[in-house]
């Protein structure tokens, strides 16, 4: 439900969004890319699992938290897309994994 206004914009940056590849313009934020792609929600809250989308786009509301390149709870409105970026919806709380070693 969003589109790029300027026809001259090139869709030259490849990102993976929840496992699917997409081409988006460079220099846009991950949150903007999510709107362009038309995803229904970018996260599910850790409290009730409610679906949410970005609210402020200026870094203050933290509604746009996503898992970006493996790191959870990052503000997608403050992060620019990069070639090859792997973006996932943030489902509930973040999962941390220990690097195990032999005891």
């Amino acid at each position: 439900m969003f589109k790029v206004l300027d026809d001259n914009h090139e869709f030259d940056t490849q990102i993976s969004f929840d496992g699917k590849d997409h081409l988006v313009p460079s220099n846009i934020t991950v949150a903007a890319a999510a709107l362009l792609i038309g995803v229904k929600s970018i996260r599910e809250t850790p409290v009730t699992g409610a679906k949410r989308m970005p609210l402020c786009m200026m870094g203050v509301c933290y509604e746009c938290l996503m898992k970006i390149d493996g790191v959870g709870n990052q503000r997608s409105c403050q992060t620019l897309v990069r070639q090859g970026m792997v973006i996932e919806r943030q489902i509930g709380a973040t999962e941390v994994e220990a690097e195990y070693y032999e005891a």
């Binding site: 439900m1 969003f2 790029v4 206004l5 914009h9 809250t45 949410r52 609210l55 786009m57 509604e63």
Partner: protein, 463 residues
């Protein structure tokens, strides 16, 4: 980044950039920290990289920003983009995170120019996907060049809402309706404030031309909108409200299908950094927000300044002037400006600042949000979006005898999530004030603590 600077400025918006240029011009060693990829702040976001199309849609005010940004880019001091301040304290110690690395800076003089944020509009359903702030719509266009398609409704009050509507129309975006929540009779009631505002007539002309533009485009315009609700299950599907006809008759139960609902009821200073630095805030009933107590140069206490919209909402032009005043004051306090020049320059800037601020009381009075949009009207409306705390949760806590917002927070988790109360703090205080019959100034607000922007334990650990 160096461990200390004569002058550290947080924020590269009109206020911060102007302060930097003025101070550097007078020989002060300056460093500017800003969390955006490009200088410009909110209004001139991305101004130096904007495409023709963006410039054309955003208009003259935006293009003017480019000059300031260009000046700033060669201002002679240091500037760090993509750098966020996560810690500030009363000793002007600043913690900055850039490219995953943490820096500590000790600022001989500190200028906080961190700007404003959107005022929350806690209506039923405001948490649903598809509902955003109008400012977010504008940022998406300025920063990323994207605009909504589909059924678009704008709702709320304030100049920015009309400005965005007009910009969207220029861009060829279709607006299904504008729902104006400004209460009835506001303009008439505010006319006494206009008298002092005649100096700011340009703003009135600008405002009138925005309205004309919207009217000419025949966008359905609903006035005195009450009972605004966003309705939907997994995302917003409809917006429902009551409105008044030209004749003043109330029309209840209007419902419109919608894909994107953009809300706005004014902007308020983002005082988090200022409060972390222990600068005093006071409740401003006219602007319905906390403002930072400063003098006209932005000085809060010796060597610490808060300027532009971060102190009180004054707009981009006043922010530029105050930024310059502040930069000049810092230079003077470091004895880099002779007393004659100081006298001449600062008086000139003060005069300009006062002229620019003359219209504010009128604008503030007209666009003061209605109580019904500051305090939710239904029990299950979400106040704290992060922790999903509702109006009734808060009311229950107040009934237990809570002393104030911080106590309510510890009982309900309101304000404990990732945004740390930036969205809910004022709503929470309004609710406490109303229910316990205390004035806002006495109720106070949620306490601010570090981190002021995201940082990981690993980043703190290995400075």
């Amino acid at each position: 980044m160096k461990p200390s600077y004569e002058l550290l400025i947080i924020g590269a918006g009109p206020a911060g950039m102007s302060a930097a240029c003025e101070a550097a011009r007078n020989g002060v060693a300056v460093c500017v920290i800003d969390d955006q990829p490009e200088p410009g702040g909110q209004i001139y976001r991305n101004a130096s990289r904007a495409t023709d199309k963006q410039n054309q849609v955003l208009g003259k005010d935006y293009q003017q920003g480019k000059n300031l940004v260009d000046d700033f880019k060669s201002y002679g001091g240091e500037y760090y983009a993509n750098a966020s301040v996560w810690h500030v304290d009363a000793n002007n110690q600043v913690g900055v995170i850039k490219a995953g690395k943490n820096y500590f800076i000790s600022a001989k003089n500190l200028v906080i120019a961190s700007g404003a944020q959107e005022r929350a509009m806690p209506i039923p359903g405001w948490q649903l996907p598809g509902v955003m702030y109008a400012g977010a719509g504008q940022i998406l266009f300025k920063g990323s060049g994207i605009v909504p398609t589909g059924e678009l409704v704008l709702a709320g009050t304030g100049p920015l809402l009309l400005l965005l509507a007009s910009q969207y129309l220029h861009a060829g975006v279709k607006i299904k309706a504008i729902l104006d929540t400004t209460p009835k009779g506001r303009i008439v009631k505010s006319l006494d404030k206009l008298f002092s505002g005649v100096q700011g007539y340009e703003y009135l002309i600008k405002g009138a031309s925005l309205l004309r533009h919207i009217k000419a485009a025949k966008v359905p315009y609903y006035k005195h909108v009450e009972g605004l609700c966003a309705v939907g299950v997994e995302r917003v599907e409809k917006v429902s409200f009551a409105s008044a006809t030209k004749a003043g008759r109330k029309v209840a139960n209007i419902s419109l299908d919608v894909d994107t609902l953009l809300l706005h009821q004014g902007i308020i200073p983002n005082t988090r950094l200022a409060r972390a630095a222990q600068c005093e805030t006071t409740w401003d009933a006219q602007q319905s927000c906390w403002i930072v107590a400063t003098n006209e140069y932005g000085l809060c206490r010796q060597n610490t300044y808060v300027v532009g919209d971060a102190a009180r909402v004054m707009g981009a032009v006043a922010s530029r002037i105050q930024g310059r005043l502040c930069g000049l004051h810092v230079a003077q306090s470091l004895t880099k400006v002779d007393s004659h020049s100081w006298q001449v320059w600062h008086k000139d800037l003060l005069k300009k600042l006062r002229k620019e601020n003359a219209i504010r009381p009128f604008l503030d009075a007209v666009y003061q949000p209605a109580d019904a949009y500051l305090i939710p009207q239904q029990d299950d409306v979400i106040v704290c979006r992060c922790e999903e705390v509702t109006l009734s949760d808060i009311q229950d806590a107040v009934r237990l005898g809570c002393q104030g917002p911080n106590q309510v927070k510890s009982y309900t988790r309101c304000g404990m999530g990732p945004c740390q109360g930036t969205q809910c703090s004022n709503t929470l205080s309004h609710i406490v004030a109303k229910q316990s019959n205390m004035p806002m100034a006495q109720v106070g607000e949620l306490r601010v603590r570090s981190p002021l922007s995201p940082i990981t334990l690993g980043q703190i650990a290995d400075l």
